[in-house]
């Protein structure tokens, strides 16, 4: 594959909607040929996609979903999870875990991490109805703690899929909590509609905050954002959308096409001619 084609195909992979990576891959194979070297060349993009999208997997012999991300990657390329005390090898192309081993958390923040794991599990069961997964990990230099949460809902038979991701960083030395929340929804029945959102959040916790307090702060930021997002849907529907195209003309009647020649631009509908506004004419209604 030429460097140009590889870059294009890699960008397609990174842009794949939730739950549709395999479909995008199949399309790329149809365009470029499905020989083994193609997948080999695309593996770095697939790995980046999996880690960015917080792909989750059930470990062999396990029951819970564990996350694969940049935050729980070990120097040897394996991944670890605190709650199940496991580490595993991960094949990014097949999204399969193998060679599970026992993992022992070694961190000066082990106490807060372990107590946060329990609170986080309750938070997930209370607020994430669909295929949720989460993880809490010490950073490589053991200075901060990462909290990541993902909720997925796949409904390809109804042509829609969605993903919620929360990424938080907590610094126990000064109590600062920073994070990013991202929502991605795709609807594609005879069309292609995508909701993509991104919100940065910041909060300050007291010194010596417990694991439960950390999760409580994460939950509060998520809730605040979700309520704002819901308000924005209403605002867009009532404002921006209505300002683009009316449901019916001001007369509240469909056009009489037999008499289209007798309509006069801007004159029969109250108010003057109005090219760029949108709402002024409504004021002229009698």
């Amino acid at each position: 594959m030429s460097p140009e084609a590889l870059e294009i195909a890699s960008n397609f992979i990174l842009d794949a909607p939730p739950g549709e990576l395999q479909d995008v891959r199949a399309d790329i194979e149809s365009l470029l040929g499905d020989d083994a070297s193609l997948i080999e060349e695309l593996t770095p993009a697939i790995e980046q996609y999996n880690k960015e999208q917080l792909v989750s997997v059930v470990l062999p012999g396990g029951s819970q979903r564990v996350i694969v991300s940049e935050y729980n990657e070990l120097p040897d390329g394996r991944y670890f999870d605190v709650e199940s005390q496991s580490s595993w090898a991960f094949d990014h192309v097949t999204q399969k875990a193998s060679a599970v081993q026992t993992y022992t958390l070694e961190s000066k923040h082990a106490d807060i991490i372990k107590s946060a794991v329990r609170s986080l599990s309750t938070h997930l069961s209370e607020h994430y109805p669909a295929l949720p997964s989460s993880g809490i990990y010490p950073s490589t230099d053991d200075s901060t703690i990462a909290v990541v949460i993902v909720g997925n809902k796949y409904s390809p038979s109804n042509f829609w899929n969605g993903r919620w991701r929360s990424f938080f960083q907590f610094d126990p030395s000064n109590g600062s909590l920073t994070g990013t929340i991202k929502v991605d929804v795709h609807y594609y029945e005879d069309g292609n509609v995508r909701l993509l959102t991104k919100k940065s959040v910041e909060a300050q916790l007291g010194s010596g905050a417990s694991g439960a307090e950390l999760v409580k702060a994460v939950a509060a930021e998520e809730k605040k954002y979700q309520e704002e997002l819901n308000r924005e849907f209403v605002k867009l529907a009532e404002g921006t959308f209505k300002g683009l195209r009316r449901q019916l003309p001001v007369t509240r009647q469909k056009i009489d096409w037999e008499k289209i020649g007798t309509y006069k631009l801007g004159q029969d509908i109250g108010g003057g001619r109005n090219n760029d506004g949108g709402k002024d004419n409504e004021c002229g209604r009698q």
Partner: protein
């Protein structure tokens, strides 16, 4: 590989971010140049606006393009000028002029602004055309959100023995962005395509405008309502399916109480 590269390209464009359809289309063409013409003729993109020498704005698309020039519906001339650019026959151009006047009224009534253009071309047993509407209000500097609407209605009018048969394919591209301190960034964009077919009794040539007008008005209303449902209903519902604002145990408890009350009522 069983999947045809053209179908794979369309599938890809149906999945990747619709806001970047233009970029993605160019990328596909780069890796599969054989598909260039078919894809350009099939994939709808947001319309560009140009001003013709009459001073009026008109819309550019593949249907009024000849080489690197586009034909204005108001003057019937190409810009940059072409000596032998394709134009409709005299009778079809006459209809095209009337259609542009009619859909200018339609635009004013439904969009209260924006730009419209209609282009017709001859077929062996009738004619075909495209009705374009675009509204892209300039966002005021204070506004936190803005949107653009593009309608592309392509039809064929076929002369059957006893009736006129119309086939309409409509695409609406609706893009919205919003941002703010508490909201962060939001992009809600995409496109939907629907079709309609109808027969009308034969009449005067001028009846074509009324027939096509009715069909476009009906389908566009349907699509507007469908988009309202998908953009503000479905997308919101999916977010609620991913994460619940209320605690699930409380919600389930409420549901349980509700069920008990219902069954209690039934037993009475």
């Amino acid at each position: 590989m069983s999947v045809d590269p053209f179908d794979a390209s369309l599938d890809l464009l149906r999945r990747l971010n619709p806001k970047r359809t233009g970029t993605n289309l160019n990328s596909i063409i780069t890796i599969a140049p054989d598909l260039t013409e078919d894809l350009l003729a099939t994939v709808d993109q947001p319309l560009e606006v140009a001003r013709c020498k009459s001073g009026r704005d008109y819309l550019l698309c593949d249907y009024n393009r000849d080489g690197d020039s586009h034909r204005s519906p108001w003057t019937n001339e190409y810009d940059p000028p072409l000596m032998d650019g394709t134009v409709p026959s005299e009778s079809v151009r006459k209809l095209e002029i009337a259609a542009n006047e009619a859909f200018d009224v339609y635009r004013d009534l439904y969009y209260e602004g924006g730009v419209s253009s209609v282009y017709f071309w001859n077929l062996d047993d009738g004619f075909a055309g495209v009705i374009l509407l675009k509204k892209a209000p300039k966002p005021s500097s204070a506004a936190k959100s803005s949107g653009t609407w593009d309608s592309i209605h392509v039809f064929e009018a076929n002369d059957k023995q006893r009736a006129w048969h119309y086939k309409l394919t409509s695409t609406v591209i609706l893009n919205m962005v919003s941002s703010g301190e508490t909201l962060g960034e939001l992009d809600l964009s995409g496109n939907m395509t629907r079709q309609a077919e109808k027969e009308f009794p034969k009449g005067e040539d001028s009846d074509h405008i009324a027939n096509i007008g009715q069909m476009v008005e009906d389908l566009e209303l349907k699509m507007r309502n469908l988009m309202q449902e998908v953009y503000f209903g479905k997308a919101k519902d999916v977010v609620a399916d991913l994460r619940s604002v209320a605690s699930l145990s409380a919600t389930n408890k409420d549901r349980g109480i509700h069920q008990e009350m219902l069954s209690g009522l039934r037993q009475r």
